[in-house]
């Protein structure tokens, strides 16, 4: 919880706003970011606000890569099919998908949300700590395709408005009928007075929500932030930091780079086969993945509920009954919504059956845990389906 004193940390356009709100700041992925806001009530209160009503996150530390080309050549699409594991051609204009860029070994360069803005114009939203690596990877591996790959990371302030009341907040900021925007669809709208603002119905919390992309100059960024907070006030909206962002995504079993996915973890081990379209044809990592599937897995990601007293944390060893090390916690924390201590951990497949007992080495103490289904939390209302609508064109 120490105030970050490291030099050369990057700052988002809203850094001053967070400090003025008294946020506790930490270093994350090379950025100085708010981890929690005492004025919001702190991490647990922020987490609960998102689950029950609405919260807003400054996620401008995320990176953005634009891949575009001429329609006739379809080169941008081809480049992305080569670069990513999900099937990009399934995306309609205005649709987005969760995906990943893989190394030839079938392990993760990064996870990514691919947005199809136009037929041959795509926006990739990537993680903070891996931004530069991702951009060079994408650019280098798209060299053989007749398309442009540009780094837009510094051009956007990105806000995530998340929770069951997110749609009510958005409705106050726009005349566009964004309630009809399907889950994982995006569009442009006049939002908070800004024309042609990119809005996506995406998020990292397991709740309904929107991510909005506004120009990153401090004046515009602060103005939009204030307007969002003002619109959200009647719903109890609070600013939320990276602490709540982590507990929310963990409950929803969403991966974090360096924990559930990394350059040494493959798609099968991470349990992300649903987003990997082997049948689409060639992509970087496909051959290794096929071989890995044939030889079988030595480890798999399991959800744990800690049943004895103790909190399993990132990196703690997983032990069998006899005390032998069999795996490790990738992410672990108290779960504010469940009121239990939970974890994701890599364990041998034979220890991963639901109901299996394993033990966590909590600083020298053997603490019993049980394998449980994931996600740990699922929101009650289904998110609007793409069949419901997507909005065509700009407004």
């Amino acid at each position: 919880m120490a105030e970050s004193t490291a030099v050369n940390l990057r700052k988002t356009a809203l850094n001053g706003v967070h400090r003025a709100l008294g946020a506790k700041m930490v270093a994350f992925g090379g950025w100085e970011m708010p981890v929690e806001y005492p004025s919001s009530g702190g991490l647990v209160a922020e987490h609960k606000a998102v689950r029950t009503s609405v919260g807003v996150f400054d996620v401008s530390h995320m990176g953005d890569i634009r891949v575009y080309g001429k329609r006739a050549s379809q080169a941008a699409l081809a480049a992305l099919e080569h670069l990513t594991m999900n099937q990009v051609s399934r995306l309609a204009v205005g649709q987005a998908q969760y995906s990943a860029m893989l190394y030839p070994a079938g392990t993760f360069v990064d996870d990514v949300i691919v947005h199809r803005l136009k037929d041959q114009d795509f926006l990739l939203v990537i993680n903070a700590g891996t931004g530069e690596k991702d951009f060079h990877w994408a650019r280098d591996n798209a060299q053989d395709f007749d398309c442009e790959v540009i780094d837009l990371s510094d051009t956007y302030t990105q806000l995530a408005i998340q929770g069951p009341r997110a749609i009510d907040v958005i409705a106050k900021l726009t005349d566009s009928p964004l309630s009809r925007l399907g889950s994982y669809w995006c569009t442009y709208a006049t939002l908070a007075g800004l024309k042609d603002t990119l809005v996506a119905r995406t998020g990292y919390t397991g709740e309904d929500g929107f991510e909005i992309y506004v120009p990153s100059d401090p004046e515009t960024s602060e103005d939009v932030w204030e307007k969002v907070l003002s619109a959200g006030r009647e719903f109890g909206m609070v600013p939320c930091g990276l602490g709540a962002r982590n507990t929310l995504r963990l409950e929803a079993r969403l991966p974090l780079y360096g924990h559930e996915i990394s350059e040494s973890i493959n798609v099968w081990e991470a349990g992300l086969e649903r987003f990997c379209r082997m049948e689409k044809g060639e992509f970087i990592g496909r051959d290794a993945l096929r071989r890995a599937k044939e030889s079988g897995l030595s480890r798999t990601l399991a959800g744990l509920e800690i049943v004895e007293r103790g909190i399993a944390r990132d990196g703690y060893r997983i032990l069998d009954e006899a005390g032998n090390a069999i795996g490790a916690v990738s992410s672990g924390s108290p779960s504010p919504t469940l009121g239990k201590n939970i974890a994701l951990a890599f364990v041998p497949p034979e220890s991963a059956a639901i109901g299996s007992a394993v033990y966590v080495d909590v600083r020298g103490q053997k603490v019993k845990a049980c394998v449980v289904p994931t996600p740990f939390y699922k929101r009650l209302r289904p998110r609007p389906t793409p069949a419901d609508a997507h909005l065509g064109g700009r407004s």
Partner: protein, 130 residues
């Protein structure tokens, strides 16, 4: 909340209150609980254990992190506050009273001299971090 005048304080943000001959209560300060955020777990020592000053006596956990609570001086644990196990939030609500961690026998009263009094601790705090 301030700093109770009759307590003594460490640079690691523990307090000790003498409440009998050679006996005291130990806890963490208001400054520490604010830095921690919501306390969700407390790990207490075994009764009967002895500690040198500066050794890890207990642990306090927030959602995000684990913090060590150090013995303010050489002591033997006489009693622990079990209620903190089921109600760790007391550490945030009442760090100087209901959230005492342990009652201890002070093994060398001379060690009290090197602890800060309330005004020294108050002066120490602003530059300090957990």
């Amino acid at each position: 909340m301030g700093y109770p005048g009759n307590y003594r304080y460490t640079r690691q943000h523990e307090w000790i209150e003498i409440n009998g001959t050679g006996v005291g209560s130990v806890g963490i300060t208001d400054f520490a609980q604010k830095q921690l955020g919501d306390v969700v777990f407390v790990g207490l020592p075994k009764v009967g254990t002895t500690f040198k000053g500066g050794e890890e006596l207990a642990t306090v956990e927030s959602t995000k992190a684990v913090f060590e609570v150090f013995a303010p001086l050489s002591c033997e644990v006489l009693d622990v506050n079990r209620s903190l196990e089921s109600a760790p939030e007391k550490v945030n609500a009442d760090p100087y009273g209901a959230a005492w961690f342990a009652k201890v026998r002070i093994l060398d009263p001379a060690e009290l001299e090197s602890l800060m009094d309330a005004s020294a601790y108050e002066a120490f705090c602003p530059e300090s971090k957990i």
